[in-house]
């Protein structure tokens, strides 16, 4: 029974996450050049304003949820 529940719960979580991700933000395809200027400095930004300032260093963007 537990084994059957795991994929169902995982699928529900994935779908709810997908719904939350839908927004007016443009989707970028792999291979596209990305840039973004933050309107409010991120927590711990230490003066950083845009992704362009990080050119020369890899950037890992982690989309997550507090709930």
């Amino acid at each position: 029974m537990k084994l059957l529940l795991v994929p169902v719960v995982a699928a529900s979580l994935a779908l709810s996450g997908l719904a939350l991700l839908r927004s007016a933000v443009p989707t970028e395809a792999v291979g596209a050049k990305v840039d973004y200027r933050f309107s409010t400095a991120p927590v711990n930004a230490l003066g950083l304003k845009s992704l362009a300032e990080l050119r020369g260093k890899p950037v890992l963007v982690d989309f997550w949820g507090t709930r």
Partner: protein, 256 residues
């Protein structure tokens, strides 16, 4: 703990992690959450502004941007697994070498630049006769000016302890280039102003304590008391405000 926090801790300045909260929590809530989970105390940044949308199938979702600003991969971090780790390592490797597209004549300039010898890298561009010399020199200058401008904003925000560390590296790297050295000197002069002394002391004390508490028990009563003492001691400084904010965050009931 999210894999991205581990990457940030292990790879330090070689990588920049940006966490983007996507479930509508406000800034106070997600910052308090991150403190409570002991995910702070490293270079990772936290925002709720999405630089771009994802095409994946839920949260969490990870995207890797390469050294040249290209989106290299995206998807569930668990699904990307080893591929993501290998891609990060490859990009870090790339970040320390001249770009593949750089002509042989300018490889030395790139090597100097990556070693932090900006003035020498620019001088090398001027010495080498190549059609890409000017563009390469402009790239070095613009990246360095961006660093100086960021340093200025760090000072504006009261992160003087962190700014001083950056300043030392910048001063050394641009010393032999009059134009860039003058820009760095402007920031150095700001830091040396007498009214910055208290702000500097506050920045050092608050940063050291918050960094220490981040991976211990940040919101325990004893920890919050210590931070509150600094908030009181350095009232009126930006770092004092930062300490007071931490105390306020500790009162937020996560999940309530």
């Amino acid at each position: 703990m999210p894999t991205a926090v581990k990457h940030q801790r292990e790879l330090g300045d070689d990588l920049q992690v940006i966490f983007v909260e996507c479930q509508g929590a406000d800034r106070d809530t997600y910052e308090a959450f991150a403190w409570k989970m002991k995910w702070m105390g490293n270079a990772a940044m936290w925002t709720d502004e999405r630089p771009f949308a994802t095409t994946g199938s839920g949260l969490p979702e990870t995207a890797l941007i390469g050294v040249d600003g290209t989106l290299l991969m995206q998807g569930h971090p668990g699904m990307l697994g080893k591929k993501l780790t290998e891609a990060i390592e490859a990009e870090i490797e790339k970040s320390k070498k001249p770009p593949e597209s750089a002509p042989g004549e300018l490889k030395k300039a790139w090597t100097l630049f990556h070693k932090g010898e900006v003035a020498a890298a620019i001088a090398e561009c001027e010495k080498v006769q190549h059609e890409q010399s000017e563009a390469t020199k402009a790239e070095f200058e613009s990246r360095t000016i961006a660093r100086v401008q960021r340093l200025g904003r760090m000072i504006d925000e009261g992160h003087l302890f962190e700014a001083e560390k950056q300043l030392a590296a910048l001063e050394k790297s641009v010393k032999a280039n009059a134009e860039l050295a003058a820009k760095v000197a402007e920031q150095s002069a700001r830091l040396a102003e007498p009214d910055m002394a208290r702000e500097r002391e506050a920045s050092k004390a608050v940063s050291a304590l918050l960094d220490k508490l981040a991976t211990e028990k940040p919101f325990d009563e004893g920890s919050v008391k210590k931070v509150n003492a600094l908030a009181e001691k350095y009232k009126g400084t930006k770092s004092g405000e930062r300490a007071a904010r931490f105390v306020q965050l500790s009162k937020i009931k996560i999940g309530a």
